[in-house]
């Protein structure tokens, strides 16, 4: 299965195998040379064939006299090598018989005709095939008459043997006379009506057939003749032609049959292939009206031939393959580039996030420093200088005593003094114990209260109590904000 896939993908499947009997020679050998070999009784004639535009083009003929099997093979091998041909088509000119039949049937298609003629010729012949023979049929163009050729297996085997010894692949074994008759009936039928006689001659045989619009006559033939016998046979056949009739002549015998016909006079002689040096090979290579019968008796191992409508398959395959390579290649690059970009962006995002985190850390640090500064500020706010306050209190008490002395009033003596700040609070408790007169103590207390008031302290609680020989002054205060903003 792999090989057919490769053949189809690489387009080889659309080039017919040289062994494919269902394909015309023109298609099989459109791009490769072919050696056409005509086997006569007395030798071989080889011609190089090339096809251009479906038409066969023949090279110059080379002839080899029959001197033995090896000599024939050597000649053919050398000829093929010279023309770089690896395949040959063999035209057998001997070993056939021809008969008129009205029991033949036509195949549904050319390929069916080939298959039936190879595998079950009885169905086309309408009667049992001749023993040890292979057949070919030349049909009347419009009616159910046909000339049935029977070719001896021995001659076909000789042709196959020749090809094998020559190391050439045998593209087709074909009867030149049968092919020529089919070709002429198909191609020149208009010129042959209403009736005519066909005289086909080559260098070893002569074939005669009378044709009319509605029937065919009995074929007459002489095969495998030497020059003298051939000349005699032709002379006799010419002599029996209808006087004043129409004759289609194909003559490659080299005996100038046209001159013989002219000598008889009063005849219409058609020579459509007069300029054709190889009329039988032309008929074989034309595959007209259908692909020629292959008399090859062996099994052909031909690679199948894909129809042209399947050409879309390799086009699609290679087109999509190319598109896949291009698209997948491009997309791989795109994907790789995009992934690279993606990684780059992700790395940048990571770096930017780290930068953002750093900035947020800075902000957090700033806020922390701000809070620390605020705490420190608040701490200082609740921790005013004590010395200054003590000096002011002392000054007030001294001033009170001085004033009392100047007015000759009793003074007081400080027994104890304490300042007590509440833990973490802007509150202060001042306790003073004065020894002395009540009025003097009261004067001192009033001055101290006035001092606190001037300094911005606000009173939470104030009380004076009696102590032995004096008075206790206890003042709970809210401390003022002294630092400003």
């Amino acid at each position: 299965m792999i090989q057919p896939c490769l053949d189809l993908a690489l387009g080889r499947a659309f080039t017919p195998d040289s062994q494919d009997m269902f394909v015309s020679l023109a298609r099989r050998f459109a791009k490769r040379p072919l050696a056409a070999v005509t086997m006569y009784k007395d030798g071989l004639e080889a011609v190089a064939v090339t096809f251009a535009g479906g038409q066969a083009k023949f090279g110059s003929a080379e002839f080899s006299n029959a001197t033995g099997d090896d000599a024939d093979a050597n000649f053919l091998r050398a000829f093929a090598a010279k023309h770089k041909a690896r395949d040959c088509v063999i035209n057998v000119t001997t070993g056939y018989t021809a008969s008129l039949s009205s029991r033949t049937r036509r195949a549904e298609s050319p390929s069916e005709a080939l298959l039936l003629m190879r595998d079950n010729p009885d169905r086309l012949l309408g009667e049992p095939a001749a023993h040890a023979c292979r057949h070919s049929i030349a049909y009347h163009p419009t009616h159910s008459f046909a000339v049935v050729f029977a070719h001896r297996d021995s001659d076909i085997s000789a042709a196959m043997g020749l090809a094998a010894r020559s190391e050439l692949r045998l593209a087709r074994v074909q009867s030149g006379m049968s092919s020529l008759l089919m070709y002429v009936l198909n191609k020149y039928w208009a010129q042959l009506t209403p009736e005519a006689e066909l005289l086909l001659a080559d260098r070893g045989s002569v074939f005669y057939l009378s044709v009319s619009e509605a029937s065919l006559g009995r074929p007459l033939f002489d095969v495998g003749l030497k020059e003298t016998a051939l000349k005699q046979a032709i002379t006799e056949r010419v002599g029996k032609l209808k006087a004043g009739g129409k004759v289609l002549l194909v003559d490659t015998s080299g005996l100038d049959i046209a001159a013989l016909l002219n000598e008889r006079g009063g005849m219409t002689v058609l020579t459509p292939l007069a300029e054709e040096p190889q009329p039988a090979l032309r008929a074989i290579c034309a595959d007209d009206p259908a692909v020629g019968y292959d008399l090859y008796s062996g099994e052909r191992d031909a690679r199948p031939f894909a129809p042209a409508r399947m050409r879309i398959v390799p086009f699609l395959f290679w087109g999509v393959t190319a598109a896949t390579i291009a698209v997948v290649g491009t997309n791989t690059v795109r994907e790789s580039y995009a992934k690279g970009l993606s990684e780059h962006y992700k790395a940048q995002v990571t770096a930017l996030s780290a930068g953002k985190d750093h900035q947020e850390q800075i902000i957090s640090d700033i806020k922390a420093r701000g809070k620390t500064a605020q705490m420190m500020y608040d701490w200082l706010e609740i921790s005013p200088p004590t010395q200054k306050l003590m000096v002011q209190i002392t000054t007030e008490m001294a001033a009170a005593n001085k004033e009392a002395l100047s007015e000759s009033r009793p003074i007081v003596q400080v027994d104890s003094l304490s300042l007590n700040l509440n833990e973490g609070q802007p509150q202060m408790r001042v306790a003073i114990v004065l020894l002395g007169d009540a009025s003097a103590a009261n004067r001192v207390f009033q001055r101290i209260s006035a001092l606190f008031s001037r300094l911005g302290y606000t009173t939470i609680d104030l009380k004076q109590t009696l102590v032995p020989q004096g008075f206790r002054y206890e003042h709970v205060l809210n401390m003022p904000k002294t630092l400003g903003s």
Partner: protein, 179 residues
């Protein structure tokens, strides 16, 4: 022709698979491209976030300058690196300088000082100096100058004449923990 029906089918199937490969390739490339675009958007957003954060940081840095200046001025007075021996030594020296007699020195480390709604680590120091009243005031001022962050939590004068004793309870904040 029938001989090539299956190979043609196989080739067409392979062609179909290749087409599927093209589709998959296009899909993957599209996804990678979309991911790259999304990542690019993330990068732009992250860049904008960074710019905003940087602008905020710069603005806050400027706004925080007074606070930073304040901290720079006062931070050095925090006693977190100062040992109790240093403090007592300096208190003693200030007392002697003021012709006072220091005594009753004691200290405690505490992390339970309640301030500003938080527990503040502090060093509590008790000291008593005895001598002339005016000199005790001078010593008190010297202490407050020498330890500007110290809070004179409590002072208590007792005695009379030239044998006045000043018992002081000082609070040295170790650290202002804003967190």
């Amino acid at each position: 022709m029938k001989s090539y029906t299956l190979p043609a089918g196989i080739l067409l199937a392979v062609t179909g698979l290749l087409g599927l490969g093209i589709t998959t390739s296009l899909k993957h490339a599209g996804q990678a491209s979309a991911q790259a675009n999304a990542d690019h958007s993330d990068q732009i957003a992250a860049s904008a976030d960074l710019d905003r954060a940087r602008a905020n940081a710069n603005r806050m840095e400027k706004q925080a300058k007074p606070a930073d200046d304040f901290l720079a001025l006062w931070q050095v007075n925090l006693s977190n690196d100062t040992t109790i021996d240093d403090i007592f030594d300096r208190l003693d020296k200030l007392a002697i300088a003021n012709v006072l007699s220091p005594s009753g020195k004691n200290f405690t480390n505490s992390s339970q000082y309640f301030f500003d709604g938080k527990q503040l680590p502090v060093l509590s120091v008790d000291i008593t100096v005895a001598g002339d009243y005016a000199r005790t005031l001078s010593w008190l001022g010297a202490v407050e100058s020498s330890f500007p962050l110290a809070r004179v939590q409590q002072i208590s004068y007792t005695g009379t004449g030239s044998s006045i004793a000043l018992a002081a309870h000082l609070i040295f904040p170790r650290k202002f923990n804003s967190k």
